[in-house]
Symmetry: C2
Subunit: 386 residues, 2 copies
C-alpha cells in the first residue's frame, strides 16, 4: 500500500430537510456576504431555490445563475468579479458537479488578480479560496466532498481538471428528497458517473491497497442495487439516499487511499463532451464497458474476475470467463437503466475520433493508466462504441 | 436511512516514515509547547520514542508516561495539571487507544476547573479541548480518528465512555511499520476489537443504510484476510497497513452513517475488564460469537445470513444454516488467531457474573441494542463462554 494523506474536512449534513441547517453551517464557516451559485431554472421549479433563499434571508445575498453542464470559464470570471466587488466571504453552490466546480474556481478567482483560466490550467497557482458550502441537487460527481473542479473553455473546445485542498467544501447539505424530481436519464447518467469514478480508482496498478478495493466494491454494489429502484420509483428515499451518499464517498479520495496511477475513461469522455456537449455520465457509460473489453488481458484478468465475483456475485472459477461475464453485465446494466449505449444514438460520427483521441492523450496521463493508452487505442475504443 | 452528520477532520498521514511529517503537522495545528503522552517502555525499545523526540527536538516538550491498558482517571488528572502548569498548547499521544483516550480527556481537563472525572461521567461538560495529534503504535480502537474516549476509575471498578466532536484528533501519524514489533496476541486481540466495532454498527435496526453495511462488510473481509498473515509474518507491510487503515475506518463513524441503536458486546466486555483487567480485545472475542448465538432469532436471521454470504462467502441458501455457519466461522477465526476463547482460560469464574451483568445494564443502553439485553441475558451469555 502506498503512502497517502487523507484529509476530508467537509461537514456533511445528510438527510431530510437538512437545508434547515444551512444557516448554522454558513455561520460556522464564516459567511455573512453570500454568493449563491446555481444553474438553470430547475431549482426554481422544485422549490430548492426558495428553501435556500428563505434560510439565508438574514444574510447579504448575491446570485450567479445560468451555470450549464460542462461549465464554462466565462461564468467563473463573472463570479470572481462579483466576489471582489461585493466583498463576498462565502459561496453557497446549489446544484451538482458543474455548479460546485464553478463555485470552487470562483472562490479561488476571488483572490487571484489575473484571468482565472490560469488556475484551471495550473492548479499550483491556486492560493486562498473562499469557503464553499455545497447544497447538493444531483448526486454524481462527488464534488461536494473533494478537491477537484473541471472547467471548460468552450470557445476553444478545452475541458480541464484542476484541484486544491482548499477546494474541498467546508460543508455539504445533502437531502436525498432533493433528488426526487430528477428525470430518469439523469439518475442513470449520474449513477454511471459514480460507477466510473469507482472503476477509475479500482482498476489500477496493484499496490496491495485491499481495503480501498473492498470499499470500492461495496460502493459499486450499492449503485447496482439502487439505480433501477430510483428510476422506477423516483421518490424511493432509501434508493436516493444510498446513491447520494455512495456518490460522495466514491470520489472523496477514500477509495484511492494507498493506490497510484492515472484515470482512463474520464480523460476520453472529457474530449467527447468538449466536442459534442453530451451528458458526461452518458459518455462514460458508452466508453466504460468497451474500454474494459479492449484492455482485458492475461495480466489484469484476475482483477476483472475479482470485480465479477465481489460485485456481480458471479460464481465462475475460470478468471477469463468471469471477467468477460462481468464486463457484459456492466454493459447490460447501463442499457437496462435506459442509457443510449452507442455513438450513433448520441449523434457522434467518426469525423472527430482522431482529434478527440489526440486531445485525450495530449491533455492527460494516459500513459500512466491501468493499461497505458495511446491515440490509436482510443480511436479503437471509439470504434467499439459504434 | 436516518439523518446523520459526518465530520471527521483528522489529517491522516499514512505510511512508511510518516513520523517525519509530525513536526509539520504539530505546527499546522498550532503547537509549540507539547505534552507527549505514552504508555510503558515498549516505545523506548522499538525506537518510536526516539523518532518522536528527535522530530520534535525544537519544541518545548513535557512528558507523561505510564498510561496502562484500561487507562485510569488518575493519569488524566496528572496530565491536566501539567497542561495548566506548563501552558501546553498541543498533545502528542504516542500509543493506541488507551493513550489517545487519556490524551483526549487531558486535553479537555486542561480547560476544566474541577475534577476531570466529571467530563467522563458527563460528556456535555466538555468544553474546549487542546488539539490532539495521534502517533499510532497499535491499531484497534480507532481513537485516532474519532470523538470517543473510555476511561476507568480503578478504585471503584468503573469504566465509562465519553465523547466530544473536539476530541477528534487534528492529525494522525499512522506508520504500519510501527506495528512490526507487536506480539501475536496483541495483533489478534486488536483485530478482534476492530471486528467487534464493525459488528456493533452492522448488527443494528434496519434503517436502509445499505451503503454503510456494505462498507462494514468490506472492512470485515479485510480483517479476516490479513489478521493471520500479520500474526504469521509480523513484518508483512501489506497486512499491517490494511489492518491499520481498516481499524481507523471501522470506528470513525463512517459505517454508522444513517444507522441507529446501541452497542451490545462492548458494554458487556467493559465490565469484564473493569473487574478483571483482561485485554479488551480478548474479552470481546470471547463474548462476540456467544452473543451472536444467543440473540439469533427469526427476525434477525436474514441479517446474520447476509453477514455469512457477504463476508464469509458462504453459499448456503437456507438463512438459518448460513447464519449458524457464519457464527461458527467467527468463533473459529478467533481461535485460529490464538485468542483464548473461554472464561476459564482468562481466569474468570462465575463469582462476579451477576455483579458485572448488573453493571453492564446500569451503565449502558442495552435495552436499545440490536436485540435488547437484560441482566439475565448477560449472565446467560457469560455462561455460554465457559
Amino acid at each position: 500500500m502506498n503512502n497517502f494523506r487523507y484529509n476530508v474536512v467537509t461537514d456533511v449534513r445528510f438527510g431530510k430537510r437538512s437545508i434547515l441547517q444551512l444557516k448554522e453551517v454558513v455561520e460556522l464557516y464564516g459567511g455573512k456576504n453570500i454568493l449563491i451559485v446555481y444553474g438553470g431554472g430547475s431549482i426554481k421549479k422544485n422549490g430548492i431555490y426558495d428553501d435556500v433563499v428563505s434560510v439565508l434571508k438574514d444574510c447579504n445575498v448575491c446570485e450567479l445563475s445560468g451555470i450549464e453542464p460542462n461549465p464554462d470559464i466565462s461564468k467563473v470570471r463573472e463570479g470572481a468579479k462579483i466576489c471582489k466587488e461585493k466583498n463576498i466571504d462565502c459561496i453557497v453552490a446549489v446544484g451538482g458537479g458543474s455548479v460546485i466546480d464553478t463555485a470552487k474556481c470562483i472562490g479561488a478567482g476571488a483572490y487571484y488578480d489575473s484571468d482565472p483560466w490560469d488556475l484551471v490550467e495550473d492548479g499550483s497557482k491556486i492560493g486562498k479560496v473562499l469557503p464553499i458550502i455545497a447544497v447538493l441537487t444531483i448526486s454524481a460527481t462527488g464534488s461536494e466532498m473533494n478537491k477537484n473542479a473541471v472547467i471548460s473553455d468552450k470557445t476553444r473546445n478545452i475541458k480541464l481538471g484542476t484541484s486544491s485542498l482548499d477546494f474541498i467544501p467546508k460543508a455539504a447539505i445533502c437531502d436525498p428528497e432533493y433528488l426526487y424530481s430528477l428525470p430518469s436519464i439523469q439518475t442513470a447518467a449520474g449513477t454511471a458517473d459514480i460507477m466510473s469514478h469507482i472503476f477509475e480508482q479500482y482498476f489500477r496498478k496493484d499496490t496491495g491497497a485491499t481495503v480501498s478495493d473492498h470499499i470500492a466494491e461495496a460502493l459499486l454494489k450499492t449503485c447496482i442495487e439502487y439505480c433501477k429502484v430510483a428510476i422506477d420509483e423516483p421518490k424511493n428515499y432509501e434508493a436516493r439516499a444510498n446513491l447520494m451518499w455512495a456518490s460522495s464517498l466514491a470520489l472523496n479520495s477514500l477509495i484511492s487511499c494507498g493506490k497510484e496511477g492515472a484515470w482512463s475513461c474520464h480523460p476520453i469522455e472529457h474530449e467527447m463532451s468538449a466536442y459534442y456537449d453530451i451528458t458526461h455520465g452518458i459518455g462514460l457509460a458508452i466508453i466504460t464497458p468497451r474500454w474494459m473489453r479492449y484492455i482485458l488481458n492475461d495480466s489484469n484478468v484476475s482483477k476483472f474476475a475479482q470485480y465479477g465475483r465481489n460485485v456481480w456475485d458471479i460464481r465462475e472459477s475460470d478468471d477469463k470467463k468471469c471477467a468477460e461475464s462481468a464486463i457484459d453485465k456492466t454493459e447490460n446494466f447501463f442499457k437496462e437503466c435506459g442509457i443510449p449505449m452507442t455513438m450513433k444514438e448520441v449523434n457522434i460520427d467518426s469525423s472527430k475520433y482522431e482529434i478527440m483521441a489526440e486531445a485525450a492523450v495530449r491533455n492527460n496521463s494516459l500513459d500512466k493508466a491501468f493499461v497505458p493508452l495511446n491515440k490509436e487505442d482510443i480511436v479503437n475504443i471509439f470504434r467499439m462504441c459504434e
